[in-house]
């Protein structure tokens, strides 16, 4: 990293910051914070890049001591040196600052040359120390890696000799790890830190190394073992332990100690019924207890020369019933809990998992010993650059929220797009933000994130934002992030907002399309039905008329001029009809050449109907068109769409019957015309019920 080192100056006086910044600017990139909160927010974002913090004590919001306390809590104090610059000379202040991990304490007024040197020395010293730590950390990583490789080779040799599938060790590791994690989440009795869990998992690979001393004929004998042979097999656990005890140099290695426990006692049973020592209950170390169950489960579900494989269900039943000896009831509970998950996990992890496992462990060790090497930081930096690059191209608003500091960080492009700051402290009380994203939606999102689980982490929801004063739909996709310890509450939530306006408007367009007839752009039958129904309900003192129109000679137009001419004519007819009626009227095409008009009126409906009749009849492109109309009135003939439609349809039929090219209101005399005619097989036109299309 060749750019200038960054120094953060936290001081509430602009004059003081200007003085320091003037001194430092030639050699460093200077970041400024006007109060303690801003200083913490800045570190939150950039603590991996900040080489030094210059801190004032008396500041608003959070004072210098509180900032130091937070840096301790977050572990930043280990990687960022702090120089206090203050006009306070009281020894208690100075003591307190040093106790909290400050590297230097400088009084005002300060001298340019002196402060420059002290800053430079502090940065150098720290860099040097970090460099040394890196060397040590890399060596530890190297050692851990070789450990893992050696363990793998060793356990593989044993397996190879046992004639096992080569997956046994892998399965034992997987099952051990899953059970330990479950145990850790259900009880605290066994002090299972993540590091200890990783160690036991790793050591479990060695559980059968004692078998190396058992004659191959016995190990791989296809039939049942004799009593003597079984006694010989049983010695493998004690022998494995002895092999490890015989190591002269590594007796104090935790890995060796745990592996020894596992070797010796992984055939013990909780009731004392196992071998070689007949230990009972928690006399058996928990590591060996867990491996014992893992061993039995895998033995049952794998095929061996002397037996076929059982199913997962059979194996679970046999273990839970005590057919394979007595186990710790707590562990059996865990096994029950993880049962289904275990079955899959063992399958999934069967290939290539050791490398993934080891990376996980290495990463864990590296992070938890605070010896994050520069190489790691370099990689992180590259990741960040990559992330920023993609973020800037995607046109998505990306965000990251830290639960601990209650800070929301928004990608550069996203913040510019939404018109907010990139880093927002206490977002739920930030007025600018709430003007864009309503508090209600905010709380809704937070609740959804709270109920997300590691198995089911993704939350997706569409919310309406007000961006630059305009409402716009966005789809939110977010998830919480857990640390390595998945049982602890999440530390962060990340996610993105994708503009959903287009999708939403496409949806609206489709809805609109469905409501209208393709050919004439009039309303479709179903939609007209709904609208009319609604209007009839709210009719009040108005009266209404429903008209059904039918072109008398349309069939012959289609027959003699073709369908495209017919379509053209229908469009022209629809256009005339639409122009004739008022905006408040409803016009729909309800069938091939049938149309419907709904209109509300106060008086003189005859005139209105007559006007429509005379407008739409006439000459279309040289073709005489006549039309028949049936009309029904609300409330006289009915008050629902069904009633009115039936009456209008009967009136239409009456018009046709009376010689076409005319219109009629429904009256009682038409009542039975249609039903009697329906029975007539020579009926010229098939009638429909109102809801049939």
């Amino acid at each position: 990293m060749n750019r200038k080192a960054k120094i953060l100056i936290a001081d509430d006086s602009e004059i003081n910051r200007a003085m320091l910044s003037d001194i430092l600017a030639p050699d460093y990139e200077v970041l400024e914070a006007a109060d303690g909160e801003a200083a913490v927010a800045c570190m939150e974002q950039q603590h991996t890049e900040i080489a030094l913090v210059i801190l004032d004590i008396v500041m608003p919001k959070l004072d210098g001591f509180e900032v130091l306390a937070i840096m301790n809590r977050k572990g930043w104090i280990n990687s960022i040196p702090v120089i206090i610059v203050s006009s306070e000379t009281s020894p208690s202040y100075i003591d307190h600052a040093y106790q909290l991990g400050a590297s230097e304490y400088i009084n005002r007024p300060f001298y340019k040359v002196a402060i420059r040197h002290r800053i430079e020395n502090t940065v150098k010293l720290h860099t040097k120390q970090k460099h040394l730590e890196n060397i040590v950390a890399e060596q530890i990583l190297e050692k851990e890696k070789s450990n893992m490789v050696m363990v793998d080779i060793l356990s593989h040799i044993v397996e190879f000799r046992n004639g096992e599938s080569g997956l046994h060790v892998l399965h034992i590791r997987t099952i051990t790890e899953v059970l330990l994690k479950q145990l850790r989440s259900t009880c605290s009795q066994y002090d299972l830190t993540p590091a200890r869990t990783a160690l036991i998992t790793n050591a479990s690979s060695l559980h059968d190394i004692g078998k190396i001393s058992i004659p191959e004929e016995i190990l791989n004998k296809p039939g049942k073992l004799t009593k003597e042979e079984f006694e010989i097999i049983k010695t493998h656990s004690a022998i494995g332990a002895q092999m490890l005890e015989g190591l002269t140099h590594y007796q104090n290695e935790e890995l060796v100690q745990v592996a020894r426990e596992i070797c010796r006692w992984h055939h013990e049973r909780y009731d004392g019924g196992g071998y070689p020592d007949g230990l009972k209950g928690d006399e058996i170390p928990v590591s060996a207890q867990v491996v014992a169950i893992a061993d039995v489960y895998d033995a049952l579900t794998s095929k061996r020369v002397y037996k076929p494989a059982c199913s997962h269900e059979q194996a679970m039943e046999m273990i839970l019933n005590g057919e394979c000896g007595v186990f710790n009831p707590l562990l059996l509970e865990c096994l029950k809990e993880v049962g289904d998950y275990l079955e899959n996990e063992v399958k999934i992890r069967s290939a290539g998992k050791i490398t993934r496992d080891s990376i996980h462990t290495l990463a864990y060790d590296a992070i938890h010993s605070y010896n994050v090497s520069d190489r790691t930081l370099d990689l992180l930096e590259q990741e960040r650059t990559k992330y920023q690059f993609y973020a800037s191209m995607t046109k998505e608003i990306q965000f990251e929220y830290s639960y601990e500091s209650d800070t929301l960080i928004i990608s550069e492009w996203g913040a510019a797009q939404a018109g907010v700051k990139e880093s927002i402290q206490h977002p739920l009380s930030d007025a600018t933000l709430l003007a864009i994203f309503s508090k209600e939606d905010f709380c809704d999102l937070r609740e959804r994130l709270q109920s997300a689980t590691p198995q089911n982490p993704i939350v997706s929801q569409i919310y309406r934002l007000t961006v630059h004063g305009k409402p716009r739909w966005y789809k939110w996709i977010a998830r919480p992030i857990w640390g390595l310890d998945e049982d602890a509450p999440p530390t962060k939530a990340i996610g993105k907002l994708v503009d959903n306006e287009e999708e939403q408007s496409t949806l609206e367009k489709l809805t609109l399309q469905a409501q209208h007839d393709d050919l004439t752009a009039l309303l479709s039958r179903n939609h007209a039905h709904e609208e009319i129904e609604e209007r009839l309900v709210n009719l009040k003192e108005n009266k209404a008329a429903l008209l059904v129109l039918d072109l008398d000679t349309f069939k012959s137009v289609n027959d003699s001029y073709g369908h495209s001419y017919g379509d053209k004519m229908l469009r022209a007819f629809a256009e005339k009809l639409r122009k004739r009626v008022r905006n408040t009227d409803i016009v729909a095409r309800i069938g091939g050449d049938e149309f419907l008009v709904y209109m509300e009126y106060r008086e003189n409906i005859e005139k209105l109907v007559e006007r429509i009749f005379s407008t739409v009849s006439g000459n279309y492109d040289g073709f005489e068109v006549s039309v028949s109309i049936g009309a029904a009135l609300a409330p006289e003939n009915g008050v629902t769409y069904e009633e009115l439609f039936l009456c209008a349809d009967q009136a239409l039929y009456a018009s046709k019957h009376a010689g076409k090219n005319q219109w009629k209101f429904y009256d009682e005399s038409m009542k039975d015309m249609l039903s009697s005619d329906l029975r007539n097989p020579l009926n010229e036109k098939k009638r429909r019920t109102p809801n049939e299309t």
Partner: protein
Amino acid sequence: MTVREAYGKLCGNYEDVSYRINEKMLLRLIGMLLKDQNYRDICEALDKSDYETAFRGAHTLKGVALNLSLTSLAEKAGRLTETLRSRQDNGSIKPAFEEFEQAYQDMQAVFLQLLASSGGDA
């Protein structure tokens, strides 16, 4: 008026400040000091008996004055700071504030004159 003369009038330590800060920067800092909010904050806070804010303001101005080697102003700000350290009303606040106020107003008057004669507020 020169910077040296201004510091003379204000009982500041010109030797010290000119050793630490070059003149151009110093004029810039003086310009910033004339726009500084802390004095107003202290006055308002004392009116409202908000001793926490008053303490912080006095403390900050003490630091600023020290940085600029305005020895006399720093002393007075320092004394006011100490009377406010308990964050409680007491008899010594008023006299300390009055002394400080006088020194601050002197500083403003002299520096305004200085900037006017040095051609602008840097």
